[in-house]
């Protein structure tokens, strides 16, 4: 399954049998409250029953992933970051040693190829790109990315870039 998560509406036809698309800006997703309920009370299920509960199972099940997010201080901006924080039920509380570091054990998370399109109002400076690359390297350990690519762009071009990328998905 292929999954698209975007923090803004994407204006092009996406429909395909094997593609799920969520415009996060149109959904109701509360902030994680850090209760550890998804690890210790209802393992694998978030105690906050909002739209996030439809999305993190898709993150886990996808083998191709496209995130589209505004960049903020080298991080995903709030809309995408809120969703990623709510995806903690895909992990267990327990610790494993992975790539010579301690990380949480994953539940049934399919290894995935991830593409992340990040955008800003203007050209993104190199320092901020570097910070974001380091962030995605860390995400890769914790979200089972077997490979990833990052595409930096401007707000005016993000829709076209996403459209081009999804067209390639449909082609192959």
């Amino acid at each position: 399954m292929k999954l698209i998560l975007s923090d803004r509406p994407l204006h092009f036809p996406i429909l395909a049998d094997d593609i799920r698309y969520f415009d996060l800006s149109a959904l109701k997703i509360a902030n994680c409250v850090g209760c550890f309920g998804c690890w210790t009370k209802t393992p694998g299920r978030c105690v906050i029953r909002d739209d996030a509960t439809r999305i993190y199972p898709c993150i886990a099940a996808s083998d191709r992933l496209l995130y589209v997010s505004r960049l903020r201080y080298g991080s995903y901006d709030s809309v995408m970051k809120t969703m990623l924080e709510r995806a903690i039920p895909v992990q267990q509380a327990f610790i494993r040693i992975h790539c010579r570091e301690t990380h949480h054990v994953q539940r049934a998370v399919t290894p995935k190829k991830a593409t992340i399109i990040v955008y800003a109002d203007t050209e993104i400076e190199e320092e901020e790109r570097q910070i974001f690359r380091q962030l995605v390297i860390r995400n890769a350990y914790n979200m089972n990315f077997e490979s990833f690519e990052i595409l930096f762009t401007t707000e005016s071009q993000v829709n076209d870039l996403a459209k081009e990328f999804v067209a390639q998905w449909k082609k192959y």
Binding site: C32, W39, A61, K81, F94, I131, Q134
Partner: protein
């Protein structure tokens, strides 16, 4: 005497480890220190409050490898509503993993924010094993480093510190897994239940 405002950016601020770290800081700081939680609704109020302080200490946990979204939201409001006199911004980040270096990316995000918005970056403390260290025999390591952080802010030397439990990874893994097993047991959940591979009751 300098005035320090501590802002707790933990999503569970009133019951957080970050609050416990802030309390240790207050015990060892001879500056005048005020503590507040960052909530969803008080960002503007906090920005206005900052004018009276020489130093801001942000305390928060690493969240999904980066700043918690509550801190991110606060920084966006602060960027749009800067105080007339910008305080020096010091940072204490803790993560539950053994390696304090896993906090580094979040620290770089704070550095970028400070540079772009004209704030001097102050002292920094990166804590590993931060979920459990205060209730372990290694509590003194966290306390000692928080005391150093307080001294560094007092003296205006603004140094960088890092600390974690001095354990081999395998032992840390064993201890952490035991900690979580006991945590679940108190709630009536077995280790096997916590280890379910199902997400939202479905096999992915």
């Amino acid at each position: 005497m300098e005035k320090v405002l501590i802002l707790n950016g933990s999503p569970r601020a009133p019951k957080s480890n970050s609050k416990r770290y802030a309390e240790i800081f207050m015990r060892y700081s001879s500056n005048e220190v005020t503590y507040q939680n960052i909530t969803r609704k008080n960002h503007l109020e906090l920005c206005a409050t900052l004018d009276g302080y020489s130093d801001l200490l942000l305390v928060f946990p690493l969240y999904a490898d980066a700043l918690p979204v509550g801190v991110l939201e606060f920084l966006k409001v602060l960027e749009a509503n800067p105080p007339q006199h910008r305080p020096v911004i010091s940072i204490l980040i803790n993560c539950g993993f053994l390696e304090y270096k896993q906090n580094k990316v979040a620290m770089q995000m704070m550095e970028l924010f400070c540079r772009r918005n004209g704030y001097r970056l102050g002292a920094q403390l990166m804590l590993g094993s931060g979920e459990a260290i205060l209730d372990s025999p290694f509590r003194f390591i966290a306390v000692r480093n928080i005391r150093k952080l307080a001294r560094s802010i007092e003296r205006g030397t603004y140094r960088t510190f890092c600390a974690t439990m001095p354990l081999p990874k395998k032992i840390f893994q064993w201890a952490a897994n035991r900690y979580w097993t006991i945590y679940g047991k108190r709630l009536g959940i077995t280790k096997e239940q916590m280890q379910t591979m199902k997400i939202e009751s479905q096999n992915s």
